[in-house]
């Protein structure tokens, strides 16, 4: 098989789900017009959500979700042993995602509140790279199918994957959205890595940074602007921690 005259390597891929909503895996089946072409780039050998056939001879393992129970650790290590390339797919896998909000509560009180009896086992949420080495991270809640198509095409061609270094703000300006900060609202588009085409702001929601920080971030400058606009530290911190993806940018603050 060829793409613009360049031979393609059909990759044997597996998709695995950990603690998540499985929405990132669902994106694989979306973008319907391109689906047959997309599927021709990979040989899916293990994808429980859509196939009852499963094999272990995969080269690439896509991991969706975070870790929140002990048995998942062994399962991850086993996948790492079998795969040549491990990819964290989506914000939960890359950063813990909304699941990590749970880490602000004590495990015991949390389990007691939800389960009166037959209490299940659970541990604090960890991202995939805290357990095994990860070769590539594709953040997004959910991942952008267009970005995923581009990355899989790069892998099939053996070409370099160019990650966007600039922030969502650039894409947002190109989309001519009315700036949330100008309107006096909070938005993290200035410090979040581009690649989503500012989809949230286009639809009317500020950016809460699900894709993690962009290459160079001036957090204190953005924070001062937000405070000047009358936004409280409490609100900034609550929204900054929605996806557990921007912790790194406030690390140096204290």
């Amino acid at each position: 098989m060829e793409f613009s005259g360049i031979p393609l390597k059909k990759l044997r891929a597996a998709f695995f789900d950990f603690t998540s909503c499985e929405g990132c895996q669902l994106q694989i089946l979306n973008h319907e017009k391109n689906l047959p072409d997309f599927l021709s780039l990979i040989e899916i050998v293990n994808f429980r959500e859509i196939s009852s056939d499963k094999r272990d001879d995969y080269e690439i393992a896509f991991i969706e979700g975070a870790v929140s129970r002990k048995d998942q650790i062994d399962r991850l290590k086993d996948i790492r042993k079998k795969a040549k390339l491990v990819v964290s797919l989506g914000t939960c896998a890359c950063y813990g995602g909304v699941n990590a909000i749970k880490n602000n509560f004590s495990i015991e009180s949390m389990v007691d509140e939800v389960y009166k009896e037959n209490k299940p086992e659970t541990i604090p949420v960890q991202k995939i790279s805290e357990i095994i080495s990860v070769d590539l991270e594709i953040p997004g809640c959910p991942v952008s199918k267009i970005e995923l198509e581009y990355i899989i095409l790069c892998l099939a061609l053996g070409s370099v994957i160019e990650k966007k270094k600039y922030p969502v703000c650039i894409e947002c300006k190109q989309n001519m959205n009315h700036c949330f900060i100008d309107k006096g609202s909070l938005c993290f588009g200035a410090i979040t890595r581009a690649g989503c085409d500012s989809i949230c702001v286009n639809g009317g929601l500020p950016c809460y940074g699900c894709r993690g920080p962009s290459a160079s971030v001036n957090w204190m400058s953005l924070k001062n602007i937000l405070i000047d606009k009358g936004i409280t530290e409490e609100e900034i911190l609550e929204k900054l921690s929605l996806f557990n993806s921007l912790n790194e940018v406030i690390k140096d603050e204290n």
Partner: protein, 424 residues
Amino acid sequence: MKIDMNINISHLARVEGHGDIHIQVKDGQLVDAKWSVVETPRFFEVMLKNKSLDMAPLIVSRICGICSISHTIASIRAIENALLITPPEKAQKLRLLALYGEILQSHSLHFFFLAMPDFYNSHSAISLMKTKGEIYEAALRIRGCANFICDIIGGRSTHPVSFCIGGIAKTPNIEEYTYLAENLSKIVADLEFAAETSLSLQMPSFERETEFVSLKGETNYQLIGGSLMSSDGVEKIENEYLAMTNEYTVDFSTSKHARLSRDSFAVGPLARFNNNYEFLHPEAKKEAEKFNLKPINYNPFNNNLVRIVECFHVLYKSIHLIEQLIEDKSKDIVSEYSVFEAEGIGAIEAPRGILYHHYQINKKGKIEKANCVIPTTQNNGNIHHDLSFLVKQELSANKNDKNITHLCEMLVRSYDPCISCSVH
């Protein structure tokens, strides 16, 4: 024939999330049949504590990657009911249109990609695409159009961004409405073709009388808010949802179970069909007649066919609703609101059945306490009890373990369980 069987299916394929089936037969007698959900709990109810109101719909959307629009709408409805907010009529219409889109998206995903391979002895839709190309071309156009509705109204099909407390953040323009209407009209033929092909699919013969719970139709096939009803005659208002769900834990599942008048009840397409048949769109009723489906129907495998019937319903309703929206020149899309200490419940029909969100809001405008009751949680007990009945029926027909395994898997799939959702 005296036979022994040990069927253990770990992480059942072609369902959302992680669930296991365990069947034990000794000397031809059923010893144990279990539907065991092993998904990791995420504790969404705890995560919502002390969160700002505008964060709640965004967080709970992540309960489910397939029905995120349903969770968003139910969450917003709970907050609006608490704070006595009436969203503008146009915003209500747009939310309903997005829900139609999500039902079409979710039902077509299930029917063509998760369930259909069972009827052709195939492992997956990906391999079936090679032999049933025409069906899958139609299926992809149907799903594409369904996702397009969600994208246009919600800003994105998974984890929507345009819904807000009080209304909706943006409205489509006339070009988008027109394009949407044209595309929806085009896929009528695709859905008819898919339905025609499905007439030959043989649903396994099985019946177990149970109770069906759904929203109660008064003048239409109710999908957002209103009263709650069961086929055993229980009726409650939206705020009395706890009396309708009665959740409890079991030692073999991380998801709770629920019960009402019997050991278990069912929600979802077949429950809505049984309870609100008279309000289905005439084209959907015609389709039901072709499938020989009439209420009240006790075969859970027919959930598969009712999904197609409901696809017709939401498709025609969407086309009609877009016509209304094109005429609606109102600019009013968000209602203002103030925050006070309050409590509210939002009930809606998600693709897999009735879904409830319940929040207590403190005077600072933060969530004090939250409860979410998920369709699959309500179905778990019914799936569990169905399994025993099905295995006993098949044992008396002298079926072997391979047949029984296949049927048990199909049974669970026919409910289209959304397992991560049910554990949340």
